[in-house]
């Protein structure tokens, strides 16, 4: 029997009231569109066209605009999905831990096809991009709000039973959702939990000018990847004219294999909020926004509780620590599944309730950001580092690490090692050292900085993490000699094809072509020409894409083709040319129609 899938019914008074509450809480602000859609969908699994039209009308937007936004984000559904939405994290590290088999097992037990809703509307199962739990994978996301870590066959079996028994996900065994900190090495940031208010007191004692002097001395550079000097960004933003200034914390840690911000947000959220408050002091912001990635939705309630406590402690709100005129508060915006929103101008578009398409730059956010106002967007780790600069001084921070890469940095270590987790080292630490500490053996390659970073082969393990050698945005994925580096690059190609925002030609079409090319090689139908074509797309994307995501989307492909070429070549059927399709298989219909199956009816002898 086919049951009509459930959705928000606006004819149902109860649900209509719930939607009304969401709209009025958000003051019918069209800039809150992404939040409204997330919250309305949470009432009932997916967003029907009727619901989109209603939201559009109430927010004063066109339906086409709302449709455009709703279909941009992976966690918003405009077609029916199951009451239980199960999304398996699809980072290569989850794959290495057996996620594909576990998903196949769950689909089989539940009798559902990947990517399809079961006919009774109970469940749908699919992959999603990395959930940031690579140190305790395989992991999955339930209903975009809850996680399950450490998956194994037994857990999957039990989960299927709970779904069949209609047990709400919130009542599943709590240990399934446990997230361990897994701190492998602690240095400045992770040594001890921060004292709420201590860094703010220190900065207020220095005064804004004094604190900024320390920030300049520290030469702290952003940890999100670009490495812009934080003091410089804050100065630019502070001096930019505007009706209001905004401090945004980029907690959209979407780079596969990265989970250090998850640790900071769960282990020491006070340090993050304290850093935001310091940034606000520096640029003169009264309003702060944290952009929390959709995959970390489970952290929202604990984070809000910390914000509330800090308000009570006069660390947020009016006259912070009794300091007249120092008013600052923080809102949390939850993402809806879009890697590109980690790029600061896309993130701002998303905060404004739009599709997360990167803006044309300049102007840069420091001058023209959120709502057109001067906005500083800083990474979670950068803001945490700023609290230590306030507490112990810029010179002290600058004495750690190297002259161009000061202080410490966090590495999310996962893959083939005994002790995956977060490791904090002074900048300039060698890859060798990290490999040794995490218990990696017989290592073939390390992907530093995630798929958009660098793939290092064994002869490069003496290289050092830092802006002058191997910059990193925090991922450190380890592959031993049993791994096939082609499969790693293939997985990353799938990731970028899924996450391209679709705005510019080279990235939109290029990422799809790269995936098709890698699929072709994987199926054993590739030729050397296909490998050359892939290299050509890589160069083109580097030179022509609109934003950095596209520009770096082929980095792993580029590195693996150069450093692990045999992994590609052994897949090539011939080194010259092979068609994308199997010519003999194409004749199957003719053979069936003519009733022939003799050798002459085949192009090649049957296997």
């Amino acid at each position: 029997m086919l049951i009509e899938p459930t959705t928000v019914s606006l004819r149902n008074t109860f649900q209509r009231n719930a939607v009304e509450l969401i709209l009025s809480t958000r003051q019918r602000d069209p800039h809150s569109l992404v939040q409204v859609l997330r919250e309305v969908q949470a009432l009932h699994t997916w967003l029907s066209r009727e619901t989109l039209a209603y939201v559009a009308r109430e927010l004063g937007l066109t339906l086409a605009h709302v449709e455009g936004v709703a279909t941009f984000y992976r966690f918003l559904h405009t077609a029916p999905v199951g009451e239980y939405r199960i999304l398996f994290s699809d980072n290569i590290t989850d794959r290495m831990l057996g996620s594909a088999d576990l998903m196949a097992q769950l689909c089989k037990v539940l009798g559902v096809e990947r990517g399809q809703m079961r006919a009774d509307g109970r469940v749908s199962v699919d992959f999603c991009s990395c959930t940031g739990l690579c140190d305790q994978g395989p992991a999955l996301l339930v209903n975009h709000a809850q996680i399950v870590t450490g998956l194994d066959a037994a857990r999957v079996e039990e989960m299927a039973k709970l779904i069949e028994a209609h047990v709400p996900a919130t009542e599943w065994p709590s240990e399934w959702s446990r997230v361990n900190d897994n701190i492998g090495r602690a240095d400045v940031l992770l040594a001890e939990r921060s004292q709420p208010g201590a860094a703010i007191s220190a900065a207020l004692a220095l005064g804004v000018a004094g604190f900024m002097r320390e920030m300049r001395l520290s030469n702290l550079r952003g940890r999100g990847g670009a490495g812009f000097v934080t003091a410089k960004k804050w100065e630019l933003c502070a001096s930019a004219a505007g009706a209001a200034h905004y401090l945004v914390c980029n907690a959209d840690e979407g780079e596969p294999g990265t989970f250090k911000d998850r640790l900071l947000l769960s282990h020491d959220p006070d340090m993050v909020f304290e850093g935001m408050t310091l940034g606000a002091l520096a640029i003169g912001a009264r309003h702060g926004l944290m952009y929390l990635r959709g995959e970390y939705r489970y952290l929202l309630d604990p984070l809000c509780a910390v914000l509330d406590r800090r308000r009570g402690q006069r660390l947020l709100g009016k006259s912070i620590q009794g300091h007249d005129g120092f008013d600052f508060d923080i809102d949390i915006h939850v993402g809806a599944g879009a890697y590109v929103c980690g790029e600061e101008s896309s993130l701002i578009e998303s905060l404004e309730g739009k599709r997360g398409t990167p803006r044309i730059r300049p102007p840069f956010p420091a001058e023209h950001g959120y709502l057109g106002q001067p906005t500083a967007v800083d990474n979670v780790e950068t803001l945490c580092a700023a609290t230590h600069v306030a507490l112990r001084g810029g010179a002290w921070w600058a004495a750690i690490g190297t002259p161009k890469s000061t202080g410490t940095s966090l590495h999310s270590v996962s893959g083939d090692c005994d002790h995956p987790g977060v490791y904090e080292y002074p900048m300039g630490t060698s890859v060798d050292r990290i490999l040794e500490d995490c218990g990696a053996r017989d290592t073939q390659a390390v992907q530093v900085g995630g798929p958009s970073g660098k793939c290092l082969s064994a002869m490069e393990f003496g290289r050092r993490i830092g802006f002058e050698d191997v910059p990193s945005a925090g991922a450190f994925m380890v592959f031993d000699r049993s791994r096939d580096m082609f499969e790693v690059a293939h997985n990353y190609a799938g990731f970028f094809a899924e996450e391209s925002c679709g705005f510019c030609t080279p990235c939109r079409v290029g990422t799809a072509l790269v995936l098709k090319g890698m699929d072709k090689l994987a199926s054993g139908r590739g030729s050397r020409r296909d490998v050359d074509l892939l290299s050509g797309i890589d160069t083109l994307m580097h030179d022509t894409t609109h934003c950095g995501l596209g520009g770096s989307a082929c980095n792993a492909l580029h590195d693996t083709i150069i450093k692990f070429r045999p992994a590609y070549e052994r897949r090539l059927k011939s080194l010259h040319f092979e068609p994308a399709f199997d010519l003999d298989a194409e004749l199957a219909t003719s053979r069936r129609l003519t009733g022939r199956n003799d050798p002459a009816a085949h192009l090649e002898p049957a296997q």
Binding site: R49, A53, T62, L63, A64, H65, E67, G68, T71, F72, R74, A338, R355, I360, P362, A497, E498, E499, S500, C501, G502, F503, C504, T505, P506, R508, V509, G510, T511, A512, L513, K516, L533, G536, I537, L540, D543, T544, T545, H546, A580
Partner: protein, 243 residues
């Protein structure tokens, strides 16, 4: 070719492929070049609208760094490369990408000869599509009495989105989806053009550089051989864009 507007002799200038192009403050490389009668291939840029920088066909090189000429601000003394084998080769590949992404069958397309994509492909010497076609399924929308929408040819330049918003004030078009699934949508409950107030006189109805937005019953009024890019080429600045 149109006569370039007079610019004061003291105006700042940059060099485009070795020849000076004067500009006024705030102009982009593409705007100034166009005014000077110089050709930088482009699809999503139109002189009447804000640049959007998505097709990337106008990618040029300034001091070894690439960028879209439609969004790069002109700077005095800048040395801009555009008409080079390398950049034209990349443009050709971008065009090939657009050709395989949609369903472009020039011989049976009524826009043939009036199509900027086709004309630019000729200009860049494109003779094949290089990649395997995607052959996406994109049903046409014939619901409007006067206007046909054939999404098969959409290159996502968003000129109709901008024209309908900025000039017509109707906001009939928007972009939906993501990645290779990005597509043009119509603002009505049914999603059909017939349920909008779009009119043939709208700017959005004539802005499409390819064959998506077409007036009905006028398909072959202008015979092949007499169409925009038959006597001219995409490089003629006077006839580059659709309208």
């Amino acid at each position: 070719m149109s006569t370039p507007d007079p610019v004061a002799p003291t105006a700042p200038a940059f060099s485009l492929d070795g020849i000076d192009v004067p500009f006024t403050a705030g102009e982009t490389i593409l705007e100034a070049s166009r005014r000077a009668g110089r050709y930088i291939p482009h699809l999503c840029w139109h002189p009447d609208f804000h640049p959007q920088g998505s097709c990337r066909v106008c990618t040029v090189k300034v001091k070894g760094r690439t960028g879209a000429a439609c969004t790069l601000q002109a700077a005095p003394g800048a040395v801009v490369e555009s008409n080079t084998d390398e950049l034209n080769g990349q443009r050709k590949t971008l065009l090939q990408m657009l050709f395989v992404e949609g369903n472009h069958f020039c011989p049976s397309c009524e826009k043939s000869g009036n199509c900027l994509l086709q004309a630019t492909a000729y200009e860049m010497g494109m003779q094949d599509v290089l990649f395997e076609e995607f052959y996406p399924r994109r049903p046409i929308d014939a619901s409007h009495p006067d206007i046909l929408l054939d999404f098969n040819r959409c290159i996502l330049c968003e000129l109709c989105v901008r024209a309908s918003d900025v000039v017509d004030g109707k906001n009939i078009f928007a972009i939906a989806g993501h990645g290779i699934g990005t597509h043009l949508v119509v603002n009505s409950e049914s999603g059909k053009l017939g349920d909008t107030d779009m009119a043939l006189a709208d700017r959005a109805a004539s802005i499409c550089p390819v064959g998506v937005i077409l007036p009905k019953r006028r398909g072959f009024v202008i015979p092949i051989g007499e169409r925009r890019y038959d006597p001219h080429s995409a490089a003629d600045t006077a006839t580059q864009e659709a309208s």
